[in-house]
């Protein structure tokens, strides 16, 4: 059995991890939180991998610079508004 101190320690470690590494999950994560996180990761990956940004640019007939900007912009609200938790 882990003692209370241990448990506290684990919680604080987890908290530390969560604050340090964006996207570290927690037991109460909602579906929306999870999706938002995945989408932000994806957009960041599209911006960082230049050939991927080019791939989208060719499909959309836009410039690569525009695509990277739009992807970064979409990181603000990647999956629509968060659900109202109190109503559920």
């Amino acid at each position: 059995m882990a003692s209370a101190a241990d448990r506290l320690n684990i919680t604080s470690q987890l908290e530390h991890l969560q604050s340090r590494h964006v996207g570290t999950g927690h037991p109460d994560a909602t579906r929306h939180e999870w999706a938002v996180n995945i989408h932000r990761d994806s957009y960041a990956s599209y911006v960082s991998h230049h050939p991927m940004a080019m791939y989208f640019a060719v499909a959309n007939g836009e410039s690569v610079g525009r695509m990277k900007y739009e992807f970064t912009q979409k990181m603000l609200l990647p999956c629509g508004l968060p659900p109202d938790l109190e109503e559920e």
């Binding site: 050939p51 080019m54 959309n60 007939g61 410039s63 690569v64 610079g65 525009r66 968060p82």
Partner: protein
């Protein structure tokens, strides 16, 4: 199990970042470009041609780049941000001609991640600090300094993190000698995530934030953060300190705003094109700044390619006005670099890059907007309009070919040549092209003139050894010799002293400035003062073969007598030694006299009995045989002793090259001391006996071998490279140096004299370009008529027929200019300005037929009503019983989410000449037609996620069978027997069975990995190679038992496995090979690139690279390369600090693929490391190099 060897044939030509600096010396005008996984140093030469100085494969993704110059230094360091989780500081080493790692600091996880810095990189202009930023949250600042020995030092990182913050751009402020400040455009999403009402999102505000590095306290503070326009995306630092007001120009959608702490914002609108729709913004995507002693300005380029000149009026630290003036239009760039010598290097997003020279600095009366005249109305700020115009302030000096992006590539031999050609779809929009690639180094032909009769030899001679350039071209005919003097023009002269009435075997300049002509009757020695000494052959004998350098002459007389002459100190040719041999001599060669030596020690001599001898020319054992080598199968026909240039790590060697009568070139190493021959290597060059000629490449000795096609052999980074030259077959060749053409060749081909030089060495392919009008999407070769059909489509583009103004003429229809004086790189309006934009979801598309022999389009058919052509294939249909062209389209297609108003399958019949198309009929479909494939007289079509089999009908195609069970969207289709191979856009390859008697198609196997398929290539009945959009290439194979069960079972396995496994098909295929290429791969093809060679898989990447995967033939070969790769991973660390194995396993563990690019770096390792690796592998370094060369020669 397949084992593959991955080798880059042509490195990526696209650029993702570029920076200007002085790396090799102070004032050296140099540019470092990142080509995704390659770091390359470019330097424009005197004539303005951009030359590659060095290029390093990084084995990691290089994302961002900055230069760092310590105060008082005159050279720049290079700082790289990559996916390695490390920051790397490099310095260019001029001696090694390579980048040397100065510092490598680990800070985070590997990979291009959201919160791991590396995406943004900026360096303080005074060289005191660098800042790395991630897309979100994290920023790291390193303090740079120098120690007592003036070495660069790097501190531990200082963090400047802010959670929930997205970063759009970062830059380092110029603030003189005050504390370094880094500026960032930030957007906080913390509130937006927590607010379900949407108010927080609507109110989300971008901020401009200053991070100050306090050098005294050694920490970073968030000094200032102010809301800015929500369209902000790009920052340009303004000179500060004593040079200007400091602060930044914030480029926003439609605006440029000057911002600084304690300063009001100064806003100016960006002028917009008249033709631009009102709902479209103007976004700045790249910028460059220029500073001279007392002024500065900035160039900023919009997403449409328009460059604006930004200037600032200021007094003291107060900015009064910001002006934005239209400057010029060039294709959109990822980076612009202004060189101090008045050039602009433009690294295009897509297609060819260019170097421009400034013809003006925008002092004309072009449209200008200013913060002073900014008008605010109720609908916002009043826009300013302009029309783009032809280049006025810039003119093109050089264009650098780039295949980027390769959208499809197929190997076909449609022009009936020795080797298949690679048909490559490149570029986007108005700058699209079909490029026909032929293997070989391209030659740039400078002059061509007809000759009277058929020459049998050609020589170039200098007037004196001190001269830099050649003075005479000597052309020898059967019974005459022509001397041409090289000046501004090439003209015949008679005063050279050369005997004109006989054929010339050899002509050269001796070390005492005299001229030697060897003709069959003897030697004619023409002294500098035109006195002539003649030596005649004894009796009726004639000189049959001869060779000479500046001090030594060896001749062979008919009958086999060899006589050796040396030039003595008095300038007399003295007969030193004579040797009787048993038969005629086939060929002779001595290398040039080594610098500082009296003579060259070795004579190579080949006889018709099939032996090659190395003889000594030392006085004490003159004409004694040192080594004999018997050659199998054939007699030598040409010899060449080549002293290869050594690099710092590897010593240069003496190579004996033997051209054999059967077309093989043999290369052996001559021991510099004993003269013994070792390390023989053979290479088949062509149907004709290779004739070897000495030349030079980059100042180092090289050889040209003339067989059925010419080849060039030269040393590259310690290894000797033999590459074909893509040019007409040559009969005679000689090196040629002149002012216009340094390191060129003069050659004879079919009674014409040609002067040519080698274009950009290291490019393995020669391009022939056919211009297109929209982005090409797919192609298909007609096997009967040998024509290429291709489809082009572009979103947001006005179709060609509806365009107005100068852009109305598409690039493919422009009249050809034959005017030689006109600059070759002149752009058409539509190439310069880009195609006119329309709204998203509208498409322009066409179908085209290209004749590959003439490299011309023969037919173009525009599609209407916003149709996007997505797929095509040649299909033989039962009914009409002929080969038709099927084209799959979608109407009003939009992505993310994929949506369209249905699609069509158009069926075309070729005209009688096979050069035109006539529409047979169109079949509407309910979704986009992503893939088409001919199948046993039917047509297979992938429509959205359903696979259909169509039959030919009179009015339209008749749907026969359908399977709607594919996960997302079908992108590729192949068929063999009763199997159909379907590639899904997200879910890898599906193996499908067609049962004709039951009229059903069903999936019997699929892959366990989700792969975003872009291209597939069937290798055999059970095996497919595939590529995905993240840059992986893999080979997928059906297990043998599954494959057999399927074929043996009368029900085709349908009933046994009616139930699926893991939400998919009942059987699973296996990945038998997999590697990460690093770039999105959209093209896979196979073919043999060598005469009689094996078939290899070739791929084209989005960055414009071409690579290949070679299958290994034996177990021992696999083991050898596995070991070598393992050692190389240890000994050749990546320049960006990425672990090689981790890089190649980016998305899935690398399997059964050896990285040939890494193995080939063996040649560039220091000699002692090479020896150590070789010892551990129980080989010699020579054997390893030989093996590497062997495997490479399979491909190229």
């Amino acid at each position: 199990m397949v084992h593959l060897y991955n080798l880059t044939l042509q490195k990526s030509s696209g650029i993702n970042a570029a920076v200007y600096g002085n790396f090799s010396a102070s004032k050296a005008q140099e540019i470092v470009v990142l080509r995704n996984k390659v770091v390359e140093l470019l330097r424009p030469d005197e004539s303005g041609r951009v030359q590659s100085v060095t290029s390093v494969e990084a084995f990691g993704i290089a994302r961002s780049i900055a230069t760092l110059r310590l105060a008082g230094a005159n050279r720049d360091y290079l700082v790289l941000g990559s996916d390695s989780g490390r920051v790397v500081v490099l310095q260019f080493d001029k001696e090694k001609n390579a980048f040397v790692k100065v510092h490598q600091e680990t800070y985070g996880k590997t990979g291009c991640r959201r919160i791991v810095p590396g995406q943004f990189l900026c360096a303080d202009p005074k060289g005191r600090a660098i800042c790395l930023g991630a897309v979100e949250k994290n920023k790291l600042v390193y303090v740079m300094n120098r120690d007592n020995e003036a070495n660069l030092t790097i501190s531990s990182p200082l963090e400047a993190n802010k959670s929930h913050t997205i970063v759009f751009h970062m830059c380092a402020l110029d603030c003189g000698l005050d504390n370094p400040i880094f500026a960032a455009i930030e957007l906080d999403y913390g509130d937006a995530d927590a607010d379900p009402s949407g108010e927080a999102v609507a109110e989300a505000q971008k901020h401009l934030t200053y991070y100050e590095l306090d050098l005294g306290l050694n920490h970073v503070v968030r000094k200032w953060s102010e809301p800015i326009d929500n369209g902000a995306n790009h920052l340009i630092p303004v000179p500060g300190g004593s040079d200007g007001p400091g602060g930044v120009l914030v480029c926003c959608e439609n605006f440029v705003i000057y911002r600084h702490q304690n300063h009001d914002e100064v806003r100016a609108v960006i002028p917009r094109r008249n033709s631009l729709a009102a709902d479209r913004g103007v976004l700045i995507v790249s910028s460059a700044s220029h500073r001279s002693k007392n002024s500065f300005f900035f160039l900023a380029q919009s997403e449409y390619g328009d460059i604006y000149k930004l200037t600032i009026d200021y007094s003291g630290e107060t900015v009064s006005e910001v002006k934005v003036k239209y400057f010029d239009t060039i294709p959109p760039c990822v980076s612009l670099c202004v060189l101090k010598t008045g050039f602009l290097f433009a690294a295009s997003e897509f297609g060819n890059h260019a170097l421009y020279q400034f013809a003006g600095i925008g002092d004309d009366d072009a449209v200008e907007s200013s913060s002073a005249s900014l008008m605010e109305t109720e609908e916002g700020y009043e826009p300013v309009f302009f029309d783009p115009r032809p280049l006025t302030n810039l003119y093109t000096i050089d264009t650098i070919d780039s295949l980027c992006p390769v959208l499809d590539m197929q190997a076909h031999n449609l022009t009936e040549e020795e080797m298949p050609q690679l048909y490559t779809l490149c570029g986007t929009g108005a700058r699209s092209s079909l490029r026909i690639l032929r293997q070989g180094i391209a030659m740039n032909e400078l002059a061509m003139s007809p000759l009277p009769g058929q020459p049998n030899a050609i020589f170039t001679v200098k007037k004196s050894s001190s001269e830099e350039y050649d003075s005479y071209i000597i052309v020898s005919f059967l019974n005459a010799t022509l001397v041409l003097s090289i000046g501004d023009t090439v003209s015949e002269v008679n005063d050279s002293g050369i005997l004109g009435t006989t054929t010339t075997l050899q002509a050269c300049l001796m070390s005492d400035e005299s001229l030697l002509q060897i003709h069959p009757g003897g030697l004619r020695h023409i002294k500098a003062d035109k006195r002539i000494n003649e030596w005649r052959t004894p009796g009726r004998k004639q000189i049959s073969k001869c060779t000479c350098n500046s001090k030594q002459v060896v001749i062979a007389l008919t009958g086999g007598e060899v006589i050796y002459f040396e030039l003595d100190s008095a300038g007399q040719l003295i007969e030193v030694e004579k040797l009787e041999t048993s038969g005629d001599i086939a060929c002779l060669d001595i290398g040039p006299v080594p610098e500082g030596a009296l003579r060259n020690r070795f004579l190579a001599m080949g006889s018709y009995d099939g032996t090659v001898r190395v003889m000594s020319l030392n006085p004490d054992d003159c004409l004694q045989t040192l080594a004999v080598q018997a050659l199998k199968g054939s007699a030598p026909s040409s010899l060449l002793v080549l002293q290869t240039a050594g690099t710092e790590s590897t010593q240069g060697g003496l190579l004996l090259n033997v051209g054999m009568a059967n077309g093989v070139l043999i290369r052996a190493t001559i021991d510099q001391v004993s003269g013994q021959l070792s390390d023989m290597r053979m290479r088949f060059l062509g149907a004709r006996a290779p004739k070897l000629v000495r030349t030079s490449v980059r100042g180092a000795p090289a050889l040209v071998a003339l067989s059925s096609r010419p080849w060039l052999g030269y040393s590259e980074k310690g290894t000797f490279v033999l590459a074909p030259i893509s040019y007409v077959p040559l009969e005679e060749v000689c090196s040629f140096n002149s002012e216009q053409c340094p390191e060129g060749v003069v050659a004879i081909s079919n009674q014409t004299l040609r002067i040519a030089s080698i274009e950009r060495l290291g490019e393995n392919f020669n391009q022939t370009t056919v211009k297109l009008r929209y982005t090409p999407r797919a192609m298909s070769a007609n096997p009967d008529t040998k024509m290429v059909a291709l489809i082009e489509s572009d979103q947001c583009t006005v179709p060609v027929g509806e365009r107005e103004g100068p852009e109305a003429t598409p690039a493919d229809e422009a009249p050809e200019t034959n005017d030689e004086d006109e600059e070759e790189a002149k752009m058409l309006p539509v190439e310069q300005f880009g195609a006119p934009k329309s709204s998203p979801g509208t498409w322009a598309a066409c179908v085209r037929i290209v004749d590959p022999k003439e490299a011309k389009s023969t037919f173009v058919l525009e599609l209407h009503k916003s149709e996007a052509a997505l797929s095509l294939c040649h299909v033989f249909l039962t009914g009409p019983n002929e080969l038709l062209l099927a084209v799959g389209t979608a109407v009003n297609l939009t992505f993310a989410p994929r949506n369209c108003d249905g699609g069509f399958i158009h069926l075309y019949r070729y005209g009688n000449d096979g050069r035109t198309l006539n529409l047979v009929h169109s079949t509407p479909t309910d979704g986009p037609v992503g893939a088409l494939c001919g199948y046993k007289g039917h047509l297979l079509a992938g429509v959205n996620n359903s696979l259909r089999i169509y039959d030919y009908g009179k009015k339209k195609l008749l749907r026969k069978v359908e399977n709607r069970n594919f996960p997302n969207f079908i992108t590729t289709l192949h068929a063999a027997g009763d199997r159909i191979y379907v590639g899904d856009v997200q879910e890898s390859i599906h193996y499908v069975k067609y049962k004709a008697d039951e009229g059903s198609i069903y999936i019997f196997a699929d892959d366990t990995k989700p792969r975003y398929i872009t291209a597939t290539l069937p290798l055999d009945y059970d095996t497919l190679a595939g590529a995905d959009k993240f840059g992986n290439i893999f080979v997928n194979r059906l297990p043998k038992d599954v494959s057999e069960d399927m074929d043996d079972d009368p029900t085709g396995g349908k009933n046994i496995y009616s139930q699926g496994v893991l939400n998919g098909a009942p059987n699973k295929s296996e990945t038998s090979a997999q590697t990460y290429i690093g770039e999105t791969v959209c093209a896979l093809t196979k073919g043999a690139l060598q005469p009689g060679g094996i078939e290899i898989i070739m791929y084209g990447t989005f960055m414009g690279g071409i690579g290949c995967l070679l299958p290994f033939s034996s177990r021992s070969e696999i083991e050898f390369f596995t070991h070598l790769e393992m050692h190389m991973r240890q000994e050749a660390p990546s320049i960006v600090g990425r672990d090689h194995m981790a890089f190649r396993s980016y998305y899935a563990p690398v399997k059964n693929v050896i990285d040939g690019d890494l193995c080939e770096q063996f040649g560039a390792l220091p000699a002692d490391v090479q020896r150590r690796i070789a010892e551990e592998m129980d080989r010699t370094p020579g054997e390893i190099l030989k093996k590497l060369e062997q495997v490479r020669s399979v491909a190229i």
